[in-house]
Amino acid sequence: MYSEALKQVLTFQAFRPEPDDPDTVVPQRMAGKKYLCLSISKSRVVWRGVDRKGRLLSVGQADGEFPEILSQYTEEWLGLCDGGWVNVSLNNRFVITLESNLSRKPGTESLLRTNPRAVVGAKYDRSKRYAVYHNPETSASLLLSCEDSLVRSIEDALGGAGFRVMRVSCGLFAMVEDYLRRQHQVGGVRRDFVLIACCEGSACVLSQKKGQWGELRARGGFFSGADIEPVMGISAPLINGSGLGVPIVLLHEHAGGPFASALYSRLESHGAVDVTQPDHLWMVLTQN
């Protein structure tokens, strides 16, 4: 025990936050360590390694249930990470809703993990886990509700295979939050737009008018491949309701996919703008 503590001090590990510290950004937690990023969908898993310098490695993917894929790729995945640390992104069994007047007291983020009832209030469901992003200009908030059983089952499955969970997040919610934060940073919070964010079969459509979040529709794991009709089905009412000339912002987990191309082609005439960066999902998950 003492030798381990001594080793951590001499390697300066003791001065860095622990890899599963939820209050620190990933680059600080995983400095000098390689780790694995998993994007888990209903019937598909996409993974990508991150080397010790924080650079993304080649991508891999497999179709099927997560436990089966886990047992099949355990050895390969363990070779991609130091200490078995895994950054997990979930793409199904979650709900994103638009709420207002949620508590914004300091420490709300950590309180949401330990005592979500104090933040969510009457909407609290003990079978859910929550995350929130507040509109800095208004009282509106985006509330993510994810199945507790799904998170536990993934944590247990990974723990049983020798992995350690660094973070469990919802990729779609993370992408939407990242975009909205960047809009706030560049001063575009008053801009009107319709945001269509898609990630591994999940989609979130948010309309903003004069800085106010008007309407939000989100569904997890409801489409696959390059079929854009399900997304168009939930997007059309918001696009039509926002009026002419309102830019449509497209956001995908990575740039240049067939789904992204098809959606852009369909909405190009409506002034669609694709703001997806290369490896967008992975960059959001590994930089923050």
Partner: protein
């Protein structure tokens, strides 16, 4: 403009004992450790280098010491030889110094013998209890009484008188024995 860095949401099961890491100021501890390690390594290298140099120097010094010891032994031998010579020379010098007042007697005997007589033996022995008396013994060949008289006259001219003289002649050989006494000690001193 640089992208805002924020902490992404986390849905995993919370762990109570998550450490935030030690305060940055405590980094001085491992830094000091590594500095000490580097310092010790440098000192060790320096000590090792100095030790090796000292070993080489000790070997050179021991070789030099052996050379000096051999040189010292040789010089000691020379010195003892010189001392022996000094002792011998001192003896000769003392003998010469002590025989200075007898040398005129020897010269007188030699002159008195002339060129026809041969001095076989001449002995001058000083009495240690009466240093002013010298026992004189002379043996000559081919000598007659004239030669002997001339010799004794030469001795008397030096202020020395012969007492208890005994003279014998055997064939061609003449023996003379006497006790010589300086009549005037001042003359003896001047003879020195």
């Amino acid at each position: 403009m640089a992208a805002e860095v924020y902490v992404c949401h986390d849905l995993k099961s919370p762990r109570g004992e998550v450490s935030q890491g030690l305060p940055p100021a405590y980094r001085l501890v491992p830094v000091a450790f590594y500095l000490a390690l580097v310092g010790c390594t440098a000192a060790m290298c320096w000590f090792e280098t100095e030790r090796r140099r000292a070993v080489v120097e000790a070997l050179a010094f021991s070789t030099q010491a052996a050379t000096y010891q051999a040189e010292s032994a040789r010089i000691g031998g020379d010195r003892s030889r010189i001392n022996t010579l000094v002792v011998r020379a001192t003896g000769v010098a003392k003998w010469l110094e002590g025989a200075v007042n007898l040398q005129p007697i020897c010269v007188a005997v030699s002159r008195g013998a002339g060129k026809h007589a041969n001095i076989i033996d001449l002995s001058l022995t000083r009495n240690s209890e009466l240093p002013e008396q010298v026992k004189f013994e002379l043996r000559m060949s081919s000598a007659n009484s004239e030669v002997m008289d001339a010799t004794l006259q030469g001795i008397r001219d030096l202020g020395v008188r012969a007492y208890s003289a005994q003279q014998s002649t055997d064939l061609d050989q003449l023996d003379y024995k006497a006790t010589l006494v300086w009549q005037n000690p001042t003359a003896q001193a001047s003879a020195k």
